[in-house]
């Protein structure tokens, strides 16, 4: 068990780097966000984790064409992932659109 853990680390050291650096990056990037933006930011981050859809596409793309149960589950996964991505980005955009409108009217 320990040996396999060690092997895995050696094999995936670049991934471990990505994880560690991304954690700091994620914290750093939104460090001083004004509370006004909490909701849109959460919604935007929500859309970004829709990246999970790539996993769904990969898993779907290698199912044998006659394995219908797997195809249906995969189909569902891709639909849900797409909903997350598209819905997430559109909702965020709608929220932020209003912030913009607000500014242009006040400028007039």
């Amino acid at each position: 068990m320990v040996q396999s853990l060690f092997d895995w680390f050696t094999l995936h050291i670049e991934m471990v780097y990505i994880v560690i650096l991304s954690i700091f990056l994620g914290i750093e990037v939104i460090g001083r966000v004004p509370s006004v933006l909490h909701t849109p930011l959460m919604s935007g981050a929500n859309a970004i984790h829709g990246v999970v859809i790539i996993g769904a596409i990969i898993v779907m793309g290698r199912v044998e064409p006659n394995n219908y149960l797997a195809l249906v589950i995969g189909f569902l996964a891709v639909v849900l992932g797409t909903l997350n991505v598209v819905g997430g980005f559109v909702v965020t955009d709608r929220m932020l659109e209003m912030f913009k409108k607000k500014k242009s009217t006040s400028a007039k």
Partner: protein, 506 residues
């Protein structure tokens, strides 16, 4: 060559996520940031579809993939475009649940992929139905699949409950010992997963062989017992149940914090998918959201002056009982619509404090009309926005922006507190805890220390509420019994409409 192009796509994707998130955190660039991330996502998705290869083989089932993409896009787009601005928080929760479910299904598919390709090996008499796994699947592989599934499932079922709670379909459920039941569930889940991952799959050396040579010459080094296959689905069910139980007791106004937390859960589930496929963009995107989401959750808690532990374990209610109960309540006085209208129409400056009640009643447009009518009469009108007003931090700004209230009329808390001193009338629309003076002068109060809007500095205070019931913190508000304060009962929208008509008549 093609694989390199895909790596490049993923690099671009990861970069746009970072830049997008960074831009989202600043008001001027937020909208562009969202777009940048969306473009990166599109590149990563299409890159995967057309360029991804595994053992020199491209993906197939294009028909199914594009069908699913099209369906998801159309439905997602329409739903997101049609949803009311007040329903935004539950929409985010719903989409978050979809992402969680996607991660859950990926893990299920991966597990099915393993079992579908396994061979039943009757050669081991002590383990009937023993299945040999083709390919190099070890404990860590199993760990990633199981943990990805568990996090995804909890995020999915939890988000669905949060969604139901926000749109009023699911009610709070509280019973004695709930915290312990949930804790026990969590421990059972973690324990079961650890046990499962440690014992599954069985290394072939455990059953007396270094590796079994299969008919096609490959060597299988691991295997599964039938019971372990059922147990996998058992863990799935337990995780779904835990998600439900975890969110059920949490109060409606705390939902934003929970959604933000579940949001970072889904991010982590996506990151586990990244491990599974050695996919950098999933890893970066997932971890970024996981980390940023966790921080955002803590920031939200801070803005509400609550600890995450309090939100999750519901310690708030019990603290409130010990804090506020003993105090003697005075009398409050009501104000008639015409009196309220007169006071406001003849004021020099009116400040409006919108709260949860305004959001629930969807009264933002009526509120804006009231503001315009007052201004025509020469009254200066400003809004005082508490950082956590509405159903989510920042939600009130979005709502008022939707109603075309101009940006410079919205005052943040610190500026507003200066302005209250010169205001003649403060109109509080369905806000309660954010104007409770107990946060300043009662150290025993559970909300003590929370920054509040100091409305008591104004000359007159009119409070619109549906009833005298305390706010979500469950504590009485002395402000309502102050001599300067008068109450205007009723639904925010209905009351504002009547008030508007009266003001026009003044």
């Amino acid at each position: 060559m093609e694989l390199n192009l895909l790596t490049l796509c993923y690099l671009i994707g990861s970069l746009t996520f970072i830049i997008g998130l960074k831009m989202l955190a600043h008001p001027e660039s937020a909208r562009k940031g969202n777009l940048v991330a969306a473009v990166g996502m599109t590149i990563a998705i299409f890159g995967t579809i057309f360029l991804y290869q595994e053992d020199g083989q491209k993906l197939h089932n294009y028909g199914w993939i594009f069908g699913a993409l099209l369906l998801g896009t159309v439905v997602g787009f329409i739903v997101a475009k049609k949803v009311q601005m007040t329903a935004m928080p539950e929409m985010v929760s719903l989409f978050n649940g979809m992402g969680g479910a996607c991660a859950m299904l990926i893990s299920i598919m991966e597990f099915k992929h393993i079992t579908d390709h396994a061979f039943v090996w009757e050669g081991v008499s002590s383990l009937p139905g023993f299945m040999l796994i083709v390919g190099n699947i070890n404990h860590l592989h199993m760990l990633i699949i199981v943990v990805g599934m568990v996090i995804g499932s909890v995020s999915f079922s939890g988000s669905m409950i949060a969604w139901g709670k926000l749109n009023g379909k699911v009610k709070d459920l509280n019973y004695n010992g709930q915290t312990y039941v949930n804790l026990a569930l969590l421990l059972a889940l973690v324990g079961l997963c650890s046990w499962y991952v440690y014992h599954t799959p069985i290394s072939s050396s455990d059953v007396g062989g270094i590796g079994f040579t299969l008919t096609d010459g490959t060597i299988a080094t691991h295997g599964l017992q039938p019971i372990q296959i059922y147990l996998f689905y058992g863990i799935l069910v337990l995780a779904l149940v835990y998600g439900v139980m975890f969110v059920l007791p949490i109060g409606g106004a705390d939902m934003p914090v929970v959604i933000s937390l579940l949001n970072s859960f889904t991010g982590m589930a996506a990151a586990f998918g990244g491990f599974l496929y050695g996919n950098q963009v999933m890893l970066t995107g997932g971890i970024l959201v996981g980390a940023a989401g966790t921080l955002l959750t803590l920031l939200m808690c801070k803005a509400m002056n609550r600890s995450l532990q309090n939100v999750l374990l519901g310690a708030f209610g019990s603290a409130a009982k010990s804090g506020g109960g003993a105090k003697e309540q005075g009398n409050y006085k009501e104000i008639s619509l015409s009196d309220a209208a007169t006071v406001m129409a003849y004021a020099n400056k009116v400040m409006i404090v919108p709260g949860y009640g305004l959001a629930v009643a969807q009264a933002q447009h009526t509120c804006h009309e009231l503001e315009k009518t007052l201004e025509e009469k020469g009254v200066e009108v400003k809004y005082a926005i508490h950082p956590v007003a509405g159903r989510m931090p920042g939600h009130m700004n979005v709502l008022l922006a939707e109603a075309d209230v101009s940006y410079d009329k919205l005052l943040e808390m610190e500026d507003a507190n200066e302005e209250f001193k010169t205001a003649d009338v403060v109109l509080i629309l369905g806000a309660n805890d954010v104007v409770n003076p107990a946060a300043k002068n009662d150290p025993a109060s559970p909300i003590y220390g929370m920054p509040i809007l100091e409305v008591e500095n104004a000359k007159t205070i009119i409070v619109n509420k549906r009833s005298m019931k305390p706010g979500y913190a469950g504590i009485e508000n002395d402000l309502f019994f102050a001599p300067k304060t008068s109450m205007l009962f009723g639904d925010a929208k209905a009351a504002l409409q009547k008030l508007l008509a009266e003001i026009k008549n003044v």
